[in-house]
Symmetry: C2
Subunit: 415 residues, 2 copies
């Protein structure tokens, strides 16, 4: 945190000229091979161009009945003030946008667009990686399949995917996986070069494995190697591989990939306009835990559908009991053990982050500042795509969480 980063204006990817020119200048070429694609400030370009670096597979948008938001832009929103966590000085909503390296933001109030801005490399018809917001889509599909009786929440992973039997997931229930209360011997500390996340990442890398590599060849081979550490069901442990295990279970019972299912059950009925995509591994398996890139307005459609208890674009897309089950939240006791200082009293359910605040707000969160934030009481949905230099939401939460509360208050007082 002591590191000095270029600010949002200075690191603007368009000004920096990444991948610009024919051919681009050598020092403006970003590569997946040397890892430069995900180093700040290059990542500010990459977040909008992941498919240019990696193999991918489509999440088809709607061919028909495409939805168009009504607009009711509110210029007052820029002036809404709040006190960032750990600060004594108020800043405005507008000022906060650059603090969190916003690439795109939409605020919906009562289903209309009241605020919409694009920065950096994001265009209105473009896509942006949503990072771990991907998890929320997998979790929501999981909750949907439970509601439909296709999955039973107390059955174990091994009952659906026998290959997981000897792994830590073997005796974990669908519910424990969806709520990430599994006990896994797995470190996701990106700063530690020996962390398990790098073994997972190497398994899923679709590029040729290094000479002498003998590890797992794809995501699912990796999942089978994960060891248990403790008892399932006791603590919340935010570990991406839960989502990929969930993705495996979902694909096994439906016979469809996560991108196919997301398109069929959610993206097409929403009336989205822009094809999204998932990055895939060498076996064509979509990275359910973080591989989705999507369009900002399309994501707002999803958020608004959830706020409306599953009804959107003239139809009930998800049964309302799926959203009820998200809102109920997970175990706050289990969550507290994870020690998120900025997320006091929160819980985690169906791969959603539940604030447990008085407005009943809940959200999807992805590293570098991706968020879908739904405040039922304020009738507000916020979708933000960003490219914050720090790989952890503790860096932008101080400028985000109190801002959302201030906006919610503004809308509640307005109505």
């Amino acid at each position: 945190m002591a590191q000095n980063y270029l600010d949002a204006i200075a690191s603007d990817p368009t000004k920096m000229g990444w991948m610009k020119g024919f051919p681009p200048k050598k020092d403006s070429i970003i590569s997946a091979i040397d890892g430069s694609f995900f180093e700040f400030p290059a990542l500010r370009y990459s977040v909008c161009h992941m498919r240019q670096f990696f193999p991918s597979t489509v999440v088809r948008s709607a061919e028909n009945n495409r939805f168009n938001f009504e607009s009711a832009l509110d210029k007052e929103l820029d002036k809404v003030k709040f006190t960032p966590l750990g600060s004594k000085e108020d800043i405005t909503w507008q000022e906060s946008l650059m603090k969190v390296y916003t690439d795109g933001i939409i605020i919906l109030h009562k289903g209309k667009i009241v605020y919409e801005r694009y920065f950096g490399a994001l265009k209105p018809n473009g896509v942006h990686t949503v990072m771990s917001v991907s998890k929320t889509f997998t979790g929501t599909l999981g909750a949907l399949l439970i509601a439909e009786g296709v999955l039973v929440e107390n059955k174990t992973a091994a009952e659906y995917v026998p290959e997981l039997k000897s792994s830590a997931f073997g005796d974990a229930t669908v519910r424990q996986i969806l709520d990430m209360t599994t006990a896994l011997q797995y470190s996701e500390d990106y700063a530690d070069p020996n962390a398990d996340v790098w073994i997972f990442s190497a398994a899923g890398n679709p590029f040729p494995k290094p000479p002498g590599y003998t590890g797992p060849q794809n995501y699912y081979e990796y999942l089978q190697t994960v060891k248990k550490s403790g008892n399932h069901g006791e603590s919340f442990g935010y570990k991406t591989i839960n989502t990929d295990a969930m993705g495996w279970i979902i694909s096994r019972v439906t016979g469809k990939s996560i991108p196919e299912l997301l398109s069929e059950r959610i993206w097409e009925p929403l009336g989205t306009h822009v094809d999204g995509y998932y990055l895939v591994d060498g076996a064509g398996i979509a990275f359910a835990g973080g591989g989705l890139s999507a369009n900002l307005r399309d994501l707002a459609m999803f958020g608004e559908m959830i706020r409306n208890n599953g009804f959107f674009n003239g139809k009930q897309i998800l049964p309302s009991k799926v959203i009820d089950d998200i809102k109920v939240g997970g175990s706050q006791e289990a969550f507290e053990k994870a020690g998120y200082t900025n997320l006091k009293n929160w819980s985690y359910r169906n791969m959603w982050w539940i604030t447990e605040n008085e407005n009943g707000a809940f959200s999807a969160r992805g590293v570098h500042g991706q968020v879908i934030y739904i405040d039922p009481k304020a009738q507000m949905v916020i979708v933000r795509l960003a490219s914050h230099p720090v790989a952890g939401n503790q860096a932008n939460d101080p400028y985000s969480l109190p801002a959302y509360n201030a906006l919610a208050k503004y809308f509640i007082s307005k109505k």
Copy 2:
């Protein structure tokens, strides 16, 4: 040609189960790394899933004013008979489809869909690689820029792209490059492991270069190394790298990549429905000579626009003089030197293949059976996507060229 291949029914990629299952079985996994993605019969799956194996970049379809074809299906077409080249026995149009491993085919007559079929891995809303039909898009954009005065056909490549000065392209004119009458020391014999095409291919491969690799890092670095062999302007020599040199010139003068320009000038105005894409190299450069994947109906829109001298979907998309210049054809004398026995009297102009027949038919052609065939007199456009086992159109031309003539006769006699 003596090799025995599975026929179209036996090699159906859906039946073969490529990449099917979660995870796919080991022997049904297709990979770009080991080259299996382009070996028959796996290639029958790959042609519809290139982005799943390689980095890619979007060719955006239309957001508004999307075109919908009228339909006037004609069941008689299946019964149209013709004599394949070198054969004595007539076969029907319907029988010919499997002979050439058709994945998708549309026939338009007077702008209406009279025939449409899907096979193999292709779905109506899917995409398929068009292989060297990509060249025709680059060539058409080049001709457009000449018509607009942005490019001058007698200026040399080096005048636009100084980096090409010491290469064979340096003193080649835009016209010579567009008509592929450049004299290049370059072999495109895929059967020869030492052919230049493999050096070009290695340069453009977006995966990590092998240890010790010291060759060019991307397509444009390769183009600068190409040596001259003979005099430009004398013979037609079908060499993919002409198209990539043309792509470089086009991007340099417009400041846009080929995918961006194709979308802006052609794909969006046509009213296409499905995003296409290009494969890209490690510097993000689109493979202008063969990297495009596109939707069948969208390709038919393009063909019909060309047949209508540039007018389509309520507007003049290309100036009619661009299409006039294609129809004029290239030098038949230069073409003859290339020795295509099935293409007697043909010529090549703006990266289109001109039959020079009495109907004034001309076409775009891509390896493994991709074609856009426009017969002005018969008011007919055919688009075929295919996955023929043999990497050369000499394998399907005997079942294609006389079939197109028979269909043309049918339509002419009908009207």
